[in-house]
């Protein structure tokens, strides 16, 4: 189905099932420990051996020798695979560094060997006996030092100039110029990357944990030099991804290579301490923001420049993209600079670009409002735009940012905010509230699905779409139930298998809208097939309560299927509506913090997000996406930072005790409000996405609340207490 004109009324608009806050269908499995994750598939293939990954102990250089005899002779060892023994390997187009290093080493903890043994304990012990000699090379590990050598990236967003920023900035009565930094961050999903591989002749099946089944299939085939048809990827349950499982990673490749060498199935999981350096991370940024404004509080000049680093072939962290669209202003300058760093590969982490971009931009907006003597919400309202500022003929399809902010202000008690920072005190606590705008574009991806109808009236959906905790199983079931007029108990959803039609996958908050639109398209075809089978006129056929009705004729849905069943398959594809309209999602994020006046300890006391994100397919699971993202936003604001060893080139705090993420005690009760919306330009579902929107802006809202509480500005994330301590009123 080609979606190239705005949606009109369709069966989804009934909202009998779609739009309802239903419990997620995977709940009973997940809460009883019976949902099978990648490393647990004892059921799929017998005689699994255990692979243990050896990671490079240097960041850059060459392997000069590997002594494997002691490991080979260790109890239980079946085989050891290295790049030398693995045969010729290509590289998937989505990987910057190769997944199996040697002799060249491109980053610390790059996999350099896989030890395969009868048991996990034997593989782990033998892996310690692998002796690798290295010739270290000089590398660049310090973004601040490499920054000057940054170049305009060849891929991603080129520089954008609108009007004449320099002249407008120079002429502006009120000027602002500040620099902010965000650190490297780790996805730190709870399930480590894991795969089980089994070969049958020259075909390999991998049970794994991957957000994008088709990307993994394509890139594993390319890396192994196999036709894609000989690779099957299965990923029905994923223990968190956040972008860290978008791509083919070492566990999958090494399980396949290990199984080929061992001539039996092999399972591989990355150990927790390998994850931060072996896999990808969100790259650090240095961001300079300049504003020029009139005394009326209207921006006349906006510049946002960002520097980040990556391995050769890697892309920049696109921290400037929201600054092209979020506020009005006639004269604009935005651009990225990319430096070469020899740290592990940087790549997408939840809301790449906007997350660090808004962490900077939305502090800057707070600072500029203060400089202008304006309320931060009023300042944002004055600079709202309903069109793409670089192309006024291109409107937003929907944009309720002001309503998000106004409604949030009312619900959160914004009128009680102390206008003088540092002036509200409760005992030892300095209390403040902060706001930030949330913004994330709504992207659409082609997405396919197959729907089967059987004689019992059961509808089975098959698509390689994944559920990474987002609720895909549930909203896809809701879509099929709505379209076919059956209850949720008559829908079966099967996901995450490359033998199913290729879907949008889970990334970029496009999954919900795109994958359900694909299911919609397939169901439209199935409805036509049902009507035809029953001899009904398809145009006026209604599907409800398990019955198919046309005029005064009626039949049970299952009757159309007959004994042979009916199958329909389709893919949603898009025209140029996304070019005609800017499709984005918006939020107002509100945070209250208390800062210990003596120690600088920050406690988040209240949080609210008001979101405008198109039709909400399931308010319960959508709310969970937003509160989870808000939690990650607190982490980014207050604690998350991969500490770089600038001498040896690696992330030092590569486990969950030292890379701190929020725990229960850090997070208060959270409130989420969704504004009523249905975006007819987005898809037949009229939905967008919320999983990333919920994170965008949260960090700055926390930072702005800390400023309101203490009067102190911190422009280097995370805002740890050492950055507040010497300036606090009660500090000795």
């Amino acid at each position: 189905m080609k979606f190239d004109t705005p949606a009109t009324t369709n069966p989804i608009d009934q909202l009998k099932v779609v739009g309802q806050p239903l419990d997620r269908v995977d709940g009973p499995l997940k809460t009883s420990g019976t949902a099978p994750y990648a490393y647990e598939r004892h059921d799929v293939v017998a005689n699994q051996a255990y692979g243990y990954v050896v990671g490079a102990a240097i960041a850059k250089g060459r392997i000069t020798g590997m002594a494997l005899d002691a490991a080979r002779a260790a109890p239980g060892v079946i085989t050891i695979v290295t790049a030398e023994t693995a045969g010729k390997l290509d590289k998937g187009k989505r990987n910057a560094a190769t997944l199996f290093g040697g002799p060249e080493v491109e980053h610390y903890h790059q996999a350099v060997a896989l030890v395969v043994a009868e048991s996990f304990e034997q593989a782990r012990a033998a892996a310690q006996l692998v002796q690798v000699d290295y010739a270290k090379a000089e590398g660049a590990y310090d973004l601040a030092a490499a920054k000057q050598a940054g170049v305009e990236p060849s891929e991603g967003s080129p520089d954008q100039k609108v009007g004449d920023f320099e002249a407008a900035f120079a002429a502006a009565p009120v000027q602002f110029d500040r620099t902010y930094t965000t650190p490297d961050q780790s996805h730190a999903m709870m399930e480590p990357h894991a795969s089980i591989a089994a070969w049958e002749g020259d075909k390999v099946t991998v049970w794994t944990s991957n957000q994008m089944v088709d990307w993994a299939t394509t890139d594993l085939a390319q890396t192994l030099g196999l036709p894609k048809e000989q690779v099957r990827i299965v990923s029905p349950y994923i223990g968190g991804g956040f972008g860290g499982k978008l791509f083919l990673r070492a566990d999958t490749l090494l399980a396949a290579l290990g199984a080929r060498a061992a001539k039996r199935p092999v399972k591989v999981a990355l150990t927790r301490p390998m994850m931060a350096n072996n896999t990808t991370h969100r790259p650090a940024t240095i961001q300079r923001i300049r504003f020029g404004a009139g005394r009326d509080g209207k921006l006349t000049a906006i510049a946002h420049e960002s520097w980040s680093g990556n391995l050769p072939g890697g892309e920049p962290e696109d921290a400037i993209q929201q600054s092209r669209l979020l506020y009005a202003g006639a004269n604009r300058l935005t651009g990225n600079r990319l430096a070469t760093l020899d740290l592990p590969e940087g790549n997408a982490m939840r809301a790449p670009g906007e997350t660090p971009g808004l962490m900077a931009l939305e502090i800057a907006m707070d600072e500029m409002a203060e400089q202008l003597g304006l309320d931060p919400i009023e300042f944002r309202v004055r600079n709202d735009t309903q069109v793409d500022p670089a192309n006024p003929d291109r409107p937003f399809s929907q944009r309720q940012l002001i309503e998000c902010l106004r409604q949030g202000a009312e619900r959160f008690g914004w009128d009680k905010r102390a206008t003088k920072p540092g002036s509200r005190r409760e005992g030892r606590w300095l209390v403040g509230i902060g706001v930030a705008a949330g913004f994330r574009n709504s992207m659409s991806m082609p997405s396919g699905a197959r729907v089967r109808l059987d004689a019992a009236g059961v509808v089975t959906v098959e698509t390689d779409m994944t559920d990474i905790g987002t609720g895909s199983y549930t909203i896809i079931a809701q879509t099929a139930a709505e379209m076919m007029g059956v209850g949720m108990d008559k829908v079966v959803v099967r996901l995450g298998d490359s033998s199913f039609p290729v879907s949008a996958g889970s990334g970029g908050q496009w999954g919900a809208n795109s994958s359900t639109a694909g299911v919609y398209a397939a169901c439209v075809k199935l409805r036509e097939a049902v009507a035809q089978k029953l001899g009904f006129n398809s145009a006026d056929t209604a599907f409800a309560d398990g019955q198919v009705r046309a005029g005064n004729r009626s039949a049970p849905l299952g009757q159309a299927a007959g004994e042979g069943g009916l199958v329909a398959e389709d893919t949603i594809e898009y025209g140029d509506l996304a070019k005609q309209y800017q499709q984005s999602t918006f939020a107002g994020h509100f945070v209250e913090v208390a800062v210990d006046a003596a120690t600088g300890e920050v406690r988040v006391r209240r949080m609210l997000a008001v979101c405008a994100a198109g039709r909400i397919l399931n308010p319960k699971s959508a709310r969970s996406q937003v509160i989870g993202a808000m939690t990650m936003g607190v982490g980014g604001a207050l604690m998350e930072e991969l500490a770089v060893d600038k001498r040896h080139g690696f992330f030092v705090n590569h486990d969950l005790a030292t890379y701190e993420v929020p725990v229960h005690a850090d997070i208060p009760h959270q409130e989420v409000v969704f504004l009523e919306e249905a975006d007819a330009t987005s898809s037949p579902m009229k939905a967008k996405g919320v999983g990333e929107l919920g994170l965008c802006g949260v960090g700055a809202a926390v930072a702005n609340a800390i400023h309101n509480a203490t009067g102190l500005r911190v422009r280097e994330y995370p805002i740890t207490l050492d950055k507040l301590l010497d300036r606090l009123p009660d500090a000795a």
């Binding site: 647990e40 399930e191 989870g628």
Partner: protein, 169 residues
């Protein structure tokens, strides 16, 4: 290799097992009870939490051979689809999970937390070490902080636990 016998979810189990095998791997790899999850394998995340003799432990930090004669209850022993434990049902109702990987540990931990509070065991946030702690949101958050949920379902988890405890979050 060493012999060990213990009870898992009411069933007597005997294993001849590598002395290096953790209780977690004995459950997951040998008994195929994969509900207990391996998130970090060194006691930092809580995904492997199960109940041993009624108390919660990180099963990754304990060797299987140390549990001769012990009674182990895993998430599979609390309830099954169609016959969920009240805590499991409350997690579904309040959407107190997303990816589901930390969830068995969260649920085992929360069942034990309510017993610990009932038994009068104080926590870091208990105002009076000699008084019986209340089932407050603050007590629950403190006691659950060894169970990381990167998806960030905390607000919903506390509501699920509070409902089972019969109190308000």
């Amino acid at each position: 290799m060493s012999h060990v016998s213990f009870t898992v979810n009411g069933e007597r189990r005997q294993l001849d097992i590598d002395t290096r095998t953790t209780l977690l791997d004995a459950l997951r790899e040998h008994l195929h009870l994969t509900g207990s999850k391996k998130g970090c394998d060194h006691g930092q995340c809580g995904a492997c939490t199960a109940l041993v003799n009624g108390r919660r432990i990180n099963t990754c930090l304990s060797l299987a051979v140390m549990h001769e004669g012990d009674e182990v209850t895993t998430i599979e022993g609390l309830g099954k689809p169609g016959d969920l434990h009240p805590m499991q049902a409350a997690f579904v109702k309040h959407d107190g999970y997303q990816c589901g990987y930390c969830t068995p540990g969260q649920i085992c931990s929360s069942v034990a937390v309510l017993k610990e509070i009932e038994a009068g065991i104080p926590s870091h946030v208990s105002a009076d070490l000699n008084a019986k702690p209340g089932v407050t949101a603050e007590e629950i958050r403190e006691r659950m902080s060894g169970n990381i949920c990167r998806c960030g379902a905390y607000s919903n988890i506390v509501e699920a636990i509070s409902e089972v405890a019969g109190s308000q979050a």
